[in-house]
Amino acid sequence: MNGPVHGDEDGSLSAGRGGDGGTNGPADHRRNGPGGGRRPHIPAQREQHGSSDDLPPVPGAGAGSSAGSAAGAAEAAPVRLDPPEPPTPPDPLRRIDPGASSAVTSDRVPPYDHGTLKSLLGAWALAACSRDETLAVEVHLTDCAGCADEALRLRDAVGLLHHEESLDLDPLLRARVLEGCLGRRPARIPVPEWAGPYDAEAARLDALLRDLGDGYWTAPVRLQWFDGAPVSREFTVGQVIAHLIAVDGLVGRALGLPQQSIEPPAEDATDRLGLAPMRPVRLGETTEEVELPRTPVARTAAHWAVHRHLPGATLRLLWREQSHRLVRTVAFAGEGVAGLPVDYGDFELAFHDAFVDRAFECWTHATDIAEAVDYPYEKPALGHMRQIVGLAADKLPGALAARRRAGLTTSASRLVAAGSPGRSLLLEIEGDGGGEWWLPLDSPGAMASPDHQVAHVAMDSVEFCQLTAGHVVPERAAAGKNGDRAAIRDVLYAAASLSRL
């Protein structure tokens, strides 16, 4: 193993300076890297659970270890360089190769041939070898100028990998940049104002998912909604995204977009990583044979069943592609479709409401995910909050009437002809997107007015959204209340009843 000693003077890897028979190859390597521009850079050692008892300590293997302890390293100030990546705590998710646990000492290096060692250089530079292999490579580097040279280059190349992109973009920058652009050149095909919140919220959630990376797809997320009584269930991040795909798909369906084909996961891992371009959605052929259920819950269940095996990155791509497509399509459709209905199976929403509703759901679930993984997540932009709060407030009289029909209300009601004044509640929403709404209590068609006010409720806009998302129990909602208690209770329950999975 003790090959020629390569010159130190060129500033590249010097080898075997100690010349002590190669018994401490890795240490030799660590001692090297004289002041020249490029220095050997030892990747952090991987965790090798269950085998540490058998192994002698590997110099520099731990984050805190010092090369000074390496045998024979006394003569030079040991050059310890940072690992190519910031040191991270042992990651339980990292897969450990159980086969790599044979006892190895530096004078019992496994017999790897030159070709194998050379082939390992890339993996070595990325700290993606087993411990045995790392050791063998590093011993080899002291002997082989060609490999040593390449090892240096590859290791430096690893340093370039992290430079890819800025991860921490201010989500508000998007609105500012787009606004600036549109100020310079107005859009000829603008996105309808009511689709703006959805566009922005989808972008924010996507940024959150990108920040989280692929380690969180199976993290538990608690979703809450109100189905007669508060419901709280745990899903995974991946399931939440599949849920968004499913219900967003109803809007796409109404826009005449081809239904997302539901296919078993591809075996090709490149696809699974979401790195290859997505397979185009199949046109036409799927709608007849696999028409998915139209109620949000059933449709979600169908998506969960089929997307069960899809990796999160692919789900994210599917969802994001669909959301971009929705915005694009509705921009072309224009204001003409604003009032047309979107079919949700057991109810309908006009497009302009459906898009705001999807924005609300996107924000709600993004917050659910962010809370689950302890990330901060802000509320939507002011103008978007206004639309979201406004939609919920406008839906309240209808929701109240539905609950009354179902016998779920407690306040007395009177028959009031459409258009005539009836008992009224003043809903005052404070904060971003707030305002005042006069709600008719007797029937959605009645006219609400201050003259017939029987109650007054004041809430913060975010709290109101939490209530309508089913995240707050009506009795516990932080609200200022004045007047007819039964009417107030009915209105708060009606607000909660707007939520669904």
Partner: protein
């Protein structure tokens, strides 16, 4: 995308931002080391692309590399303004510009290398898998995983040789691009 921008589709502008904002902001930040400057450069770059979608010539390379080069130009321009105001010293500035150029070349190489190589690097670097786990994930042999990692890094290492003309075809150095 270019056609959609030219048509004045606001939705295309949003998609453009979603696809490239972190690249633009990241590059701008690396050159200027200043959040506000990076924000400002991001606005300028997207504003320019939106106003001049025809300035992009697909024959010269990908839209991404064009946007990256554009960002470099804006960022270096901004940095030279600082220099003129005496807010940074010339050596530091040149070092930063060189470093940013290398980073831009590296970004170009990573994004234009064959997908199987990129996938292998992603797994080993970002997901921190060892090459055996990466091989299993990719559904390839361990030999093949090692080969991909090595080849991917070899390609990437060409970014460090600025005078090597084969390093990054289609990539333009800001200095040259600015002429």
């Amino acid at each position: 995308m270019q056609q959609r921008l030219a048509r004045g589709e606001e939705a295309a502008l949003g998609e453009l931002y979603d696809r490239y904002a972190s690249l633009v902001h990241g590059l701008a930040h690396r050159v200027t080391d200043d959040d506000d400057a990076a924000d400002q450069i991001t606005r300028e770059v997207f504003g320019y692309v939106w106003e001049n979608p025809d300035a992009y010539e697909p024959r010269d390379g990908s839209l991404r590399s064009w946007i990256a080069a554009l960002t470099q130009r804006h960022a270096v321009h901004r940095l030279r303004q600082y220099e003129n105001r005496g807010r940074t010293n010339p050596d530091l500035l040149e070092a930063r510009v060189r470093e940013a150029n290398t980073a831009a070349r590296a970004d170009f190489i990573v994004t234009s290398m064959p997908a199987p190589l990129r996938a292998a690097l992603e797994l080993a670097y970002r997901e921190r898998l060892d090459y055996r786990a990466a091989a299993a994930d990719l559904g390839v042999s361990e030999d093949e995983a090692r080969r991909r990692l090595r080849l991917g890094l070899q390609l990437l290492s060409t970014a460090m040789e600025p005078d090597d003309p084969s390093g990054a075809p289609g990539e333009r150095h800001p200095e040259r691009g600015a002429r």
